[in-house]
């Protein structure tokens, strides 16, 4: 079976997801992902000519909250489960690249 997803694509997605995968894992995920894509391809058998693309699965709209602040966790609780912190900030490995969303 020709693979829908090859090792190269798995490596790229792993890089984008900041995942460090072994060669064996890359091989395994390439096969698994290919099977998933093949399965989902069954959808192509349906005639969707007259079906509008869907933006949301539930068909509901306009669910809002009012702009009233509620209590937050506070610093102590927020940091409680962090692998590393200094009492004020989460501590993470050094980020080389400064960026903005």
């Amino acid at each position: 079976m020709s693979k829908k997803i090859d090792a190269q694509q798995v490596k790229k997605v792993a890089m984008l997801s900041r995942l460090d995968l072994s060669d064996a894992e890359i091989e395994r995920f390439a096969s698994q992902l290919s099977e998933i894509v093949t399965y989902v391809e069954k959808m192509n058998e349906l005639d969707t000519e007259k079906v509008e693309p869907m933006a949301h699965c539930l068909g509901i709209t306009n669910r809002f909250g009012e702009d009233r602040p509620a209590e937050s966790l506070g610093t102590e609780k927020a940091l409680a489960n962090a692998p590393d912190h200094d009492g004020q900030f989460f501590i993470v490995p050094r980020i080389l690249e400064e960026n903005s969303a």
Partner: protein, 486 residues
């Protein structure tokens, strides 16, 4: 370089923080400089199982901003996952808008010279969440999530600007607009308004046209930095082109940071392929349909915007460009001014009261002039009292000062403080006679004419003013003096 024909092509990407009390998708408070990581919850910390709920006020403010920028507002709009792997956004994605922004195809107008308007097109404006802050400390980084989830609108313009001055003017005008509408506090120092210009240059050389590679500029914390960085970058790109001949092509866009102390832009290192946002529709935030009634309700919150108001003041009331700009800088002040005119005040007189003594008082109190709560009809009465000579201009300033401290009406204050001008001829004539009798030398000088005459006349007027404790109407006194000294 003197003969080189070139034109800067500058577009802006602008992030404006919306003035809401709570975040976009959770109800943590939005607060500048709060204790690190204190305004966070499972939602903005990206904990599994937490559900985002959209802040209605944030959406309405985004629509209002879109309307003020003359955009079309989408009747149907939705949110998308934008993959983003940095610790300052723990969800590993930003909730943003990809293919259906809330607003699109608008424009903003700036005054390039008095009376000359330039239109800069707005491509789109969408609603998204801000990230937190990463701080770099030695061999690790500190992360503060407080800002994550703060509502932003991202505004993207077409590359319609060509100089640093134009970019600066757009930035200032945008700040005026969003402040007018209460959409944002728009304080650049607090990062509530962030500008990232995209710059390149069209160069004409030997009949051919060349485009330099695009650079995006970051780290701009003031209007001055915006203007300086754009002008610097245009020159840098021209020089680089003349040296290397490099032109714009796929993949040679760069990011440069503005170094404010050295006044230069510096290339920022970026990992290749680091950005691949892979947007797809968010499923736990239902889309939004803007119904006609709701749309009308939001549109009803628009008001006349600062630039058009400013131009109207010069045309309709004959005010100077400077005065019109000062009066329209704050919406509340402009509205007070107009209400005082409706109540019968003369435009120039009310303008002078507000822009001179009024602005000085407001500056001392560190508020806007309208926040003193002076009623427009009382301001109109004071203006008329000055116009009619009931009080003189300096007494008017004193009365205005009292009006900022109490609810008393200007005529009552004038009486209580003995500021009513004496215009009664017979009463003033006696004082004039007395002053003339006491100062025979000055009288001689006036009568002799020549150089000293004018000065001596002023001296005599001053004597009368002193004797009446400043309450004499100088016009009446001058007339009497003139008659007596013929």
């Amino acid at each position: 370089m003197a003969k080189l024909k070139y034109k800067g092509l500058i577009g802006l990407e602008i992030h404006v923080q919306l003035a809401t009390a709570s975040k976009l998708f959770c109800r943590c408070a939005v607060e500048f400089a709060a204790e690190p990581n204190s305004r966070v919850c499972p939602g903005c910390l990206g904990m599994p199982g937490s559900m985002p709920v959209m802040n209605k006020q944030a959406l309405e403010r985004a629509i209002l901003a879109g309307l003020a920028l003359n955009c079309n507002i989408a009747e149907f709009t939705k949110w998308d996952h934008k993959s983003y792997f940095y610790p300052d956004l723990p969800n590993n994605y930003q909730i943003s808008q990809y293919d259906i922004p809330v607003a699109a195809d608008g424009y903003i107008e700036i005054e390039t010279q008095p009376g000359q308007i330039k239109r800069v097109r707005i491509r789109r404006a969408h609603l998204e969440e801000d990230a937190g802050k990463n701080m770099h400390a030695g061999n690790y980084s500190q992360v503060d999530i407080n800002r994550a989830g703060t509502p932003l609108i991202e505004i993207v313009t077409e590359p319609d600007m060509s100089t640093g001055a134009e970019v600066r003017a757009v930035a200032i005008e945008l700040q005026r607009i969003v402040r007018y509408l209460g959409v944002s506090e728009a304080d650049m120092q607090k990062g509530q308004m962030r500008f990232e210009p995209n710059i390149n240059v069209i160069i004409e050389q030997n009949g051919d046209e060349f485009r330099t590679p695009i650079a995006e500029i970051k780290n701009l914390n003031s209007f001055r930095a915006i203007q300086g960085s754009v002008d610097y970058e245009i020159e840098r790109q021209i020089e680089q082109f003349l040296e290397s001949g490099t032109v714009m092509e796929m993949g040679n866009k760069s990011t440069r940071g503005w170094d404010d102390s050295r006044q230069v832009t510096v290339l920022q290192r970026e990992k290749e392929e680091a950005h691949d946002y892979r947007c797809f529709p968010v499923q736990n935030i239902p889309p939004v349909k803007v119904t006609p009634q709701w749309f009308d309700e939001i549109r009803g919150r628009l008001c006349e915007l600062p630039l058009s108001r400013q131009r109207r003041y010069t045309q309709q009331y004959g005010l100077s460009d400077y005065d019109a700009r000062v009066l329209t800088a704050e919406r509340g002040v402009a509205e007070l001014f107009e209400a005082a005119l409706k109540a019968g005040g003369d435009a120039k007189r009310v303008c002078n009261l507000i822009t001179q003594a009024g602005m000085k008082l407001a500056k001392e109190a560190q508020i806007n002039f309208d926040e003193f709560g002076i009623k427009p009809d009382k301001l109109a009465v004071l203006a008329t009292m000055i116009d009619e000579g009931t009080v003189n201009a300096s007494a008017g300033d004193k009365i205005l000062t009292k009006m900022t401290q109490s609810e008393a009406s200007p005529d009552k204050i004038a009486e209580d403080e003995n500021l009513i001008q004496k215009s009664d001829e017979s009463e003033l004539e006696a004082v004039v006679d007395q002053s003339l009798a006491e100062n025979p030398q000055a009288v001689e000088e006036v009568k002799a004419g020549g150089k000293k005459s004018k000065k001596a006349r002023g001296f005599l007027l001053g004597q009368v003013m002193q004797k009446t404790k400043g309450q004499a109407n100088p016009k009446v006194v001058s007339a009497i003096l003139g008659r007596k000294l013929e």
